[in-house]
Symmetry: C2
Subunit: 360 residues, 2 copies
């Protein structure tokens, strides 16, 4: 059978050894006699699994002691609401840096709860570039400045942490968390849906500096109240137990790979060779500015649009699946998260080259 | 090895054949070449899984065509917020029937969003009885009347659907959904966290009558907005894909068992024999009124409290696990949801009898 490489943007490919271990442990976790799927969230056996995942996450991303790590439900879209509800306090406004579809969505949701100041927007350039810091208008009255570290659909990634001075920085890292080291101490809050780099869909990680707790608006649904969740070790209500366990298996795999610094080197190699293949071709192109091309999501177009259908069909036949772009954009996109092995990218490049030779 | 029977209140026991099938399908779902854990939620292969689960749910509970079935995140506690946010409309108040810990929590959360009228409360009787309908004070100005169909902690279950006249009836059925037939047409909305009778933790089912859509408060987080989720087939954002799949496997198992009417007969037999064993003993007792004893959660006490620790230790040794009561109550509780086989209850009864013979 052809080996399958899954380039889907999320839920996405998981490491083979993680899936094998999940399969082996599914009926009887380490002799407990029951499946993780059946464990009570407050049982000793389960809380050990949950705490191990939290400790591994803290170690991998080097999260300082004055930050809490929460495991919640609702995805990044849930956090689009939870962030303003928890962090606005008595401020009237928030601030958003707009770099694509996801930062726009985050800002639109914040608008339900107060004024939204736009720091800068790349819309005029169709979000192919991140606006230069000189063009940013910071507002010292904003409760926080929000940015999307990696735009999954557009394929635009911040290569540095934005400098927002004394303002509280908040980031959606759903599609690049744990793909590179990050200085967490520069942030007030980081959040990420797990279904790209760190596990299956249905669990969301929130890293929040402790001094930001205690200021949730009274209309905040309790499940989204960071303070209540922090005070209950993310078990104010039943957490998504199996998703948390799977996330833990992915974290153990990341540690076996040598941690985030090693992963970053692999991610640089993978993305660099794919962009190089696109750039030297006359059939494929990527519209994103060189300084902000994403290491995780590589969108590309085919000059001859009549070849699109054939490209998709042929790629699937070769075991290269889910290369279609986001339904809102079209074209193609290769998502090459941590779990995508380097040989998957090599096979894709070889397929693209052969396709161009034949039809280009 | 001793066969394990898991009496935990949730996350709880799953049918063995469901777990076996999940294990078999984990690496490669039906020849798709990838795991369900890796499938994009908008892929054809995954949407077929999701739609099958919805259709099976509709069939099993005989949900009328003018009701939408949503698969959300956040558990019942998330719905404690979502229900008032979506259903209050321009009304100033909601109404709650209080029968234990969970209905109290639901009412407390509704209080964030408006006035809460208490229809009746069983608090004076320590929630051992459901207040008689003659004692209920209905308020025609309430947006809806909420009740908890089965109090998981207290072990109190409504044996009939409450008659609230022309008012909209809302029910939390987290711990008894699909354990008995229900006339859905009597309700405006039913919700249930999956982790007791219908699957793993991390997915919540909402059944809502279509005419109740379109009135969400503007502060409603989008992920909790029933209308937006209904318009997007519960995929406004990435749903908990694997949890949804597991729920689907449980539904298929329920159909194989003969459907809900057959399950109800089994649940009646299981609970009746356990209550009978408790009632005829002089060591064990259950404090709940005969008319409202839960078929799902059977709390019980041991007259000689010095025997409690030994009871727990011995039961675990016999493979009867998670019999401790809820951390807020203490004592013991046997949760005997759909997935608990009748022989599990038989083994428990035999153990309790032998324990009483030896130490009682």
């Amino acid at each position: 059978m052809t080996k399958i490489y899954n380039f889907g943007a999320g839920p996405s490919m998981l490491p083979g050894t993680v899936l094998q271990r999940a399969q082996e442990e599914l009926l009887d976790w380490h002799g407990a006699g029951i499946s993780v799927l059946e464990m009570g969230h407050r049982s000793q056996v389960y809380t050990a699994i949950a705490e191990k995942a939290e400790a591994d996450f803290r170690e991998l991303l080097d999260v300082p002691a004055d930050y809490r790590i929460l495991f919640l439900q609702g995805g990044a879209t849930g956090q689009f609401s939870a962030v303003p509800l928890n962090l606005m306090g008595d401020k009237a406004k928030t601030a958003y840096l707009l770099t694509g579809v996801w930062s726009e969505k985050a800002a639109a949701e914040a608008l339900r709860y107060g004024e939204v100041h736009v720091v800068a927007t790349g819309r005029a350039e169709s979000y192919t570039k991140i606006p230069q810091p000189e063009q940013w208008l910071l507002d010292s009255n904003a409760a926080y400045v929000h940015y999307t570290a990696n735009e999954t659909i557009g394929g635009v990634e911040f290569q540095q942490i934005p400098d927002v001075g004394a303002l509280t920085l908040v980031s959606d890292m759903s599609s690049n968390i744990l793909s590179r080291p990050v200085d967490v101490s520069r942030f007030g809050l980081i959040y990420a849906g797990a279904q790209k780099n760190i596990g299956p869909a249905g669990i969301t990680v929130v890293i929040v500096r402790e001094d930001l707790l205690g200021r949730a608006n009274s209309i905040t649904p309790s499940v989204f109240d960071y303070t209540k969740q922090a005070n209950n070790a993310s078990m104010l209500n039943t957490p998504p137990t199996y998703n948390w366990y799977m996330l833990g298996l992915v974290l153990e795999w990341l540690k076996e790979q040598g941690g985030i610094a090693a992963l970053e080197q692999k991610n640089i190699r993978k993305s660099a060779k794919l962009y190089a293949a696109i750039d030297r071709s006359s059939l494929y192109s990527n519209p994103i500015g060189l300084a902000c091309r994403s290491r995780m999501n590589v969108p590309f177009r085919i000059a001859d649009t009549e070849l699109e259908e054939r490209f998709l069909k042929d790629s699937v036949r070769e075991g290269l699946i889910n290369l279609e772009g986001h339904r809102s954009v079209g074209d193609f996109r290769a998502s090459i998260y941590n779990a995508m092995p380097e040989e998957g990218v090599d096979v894709l490049i070889e397929f693209m080259r052969e396709f161009e030779r034949r039809y280009g």
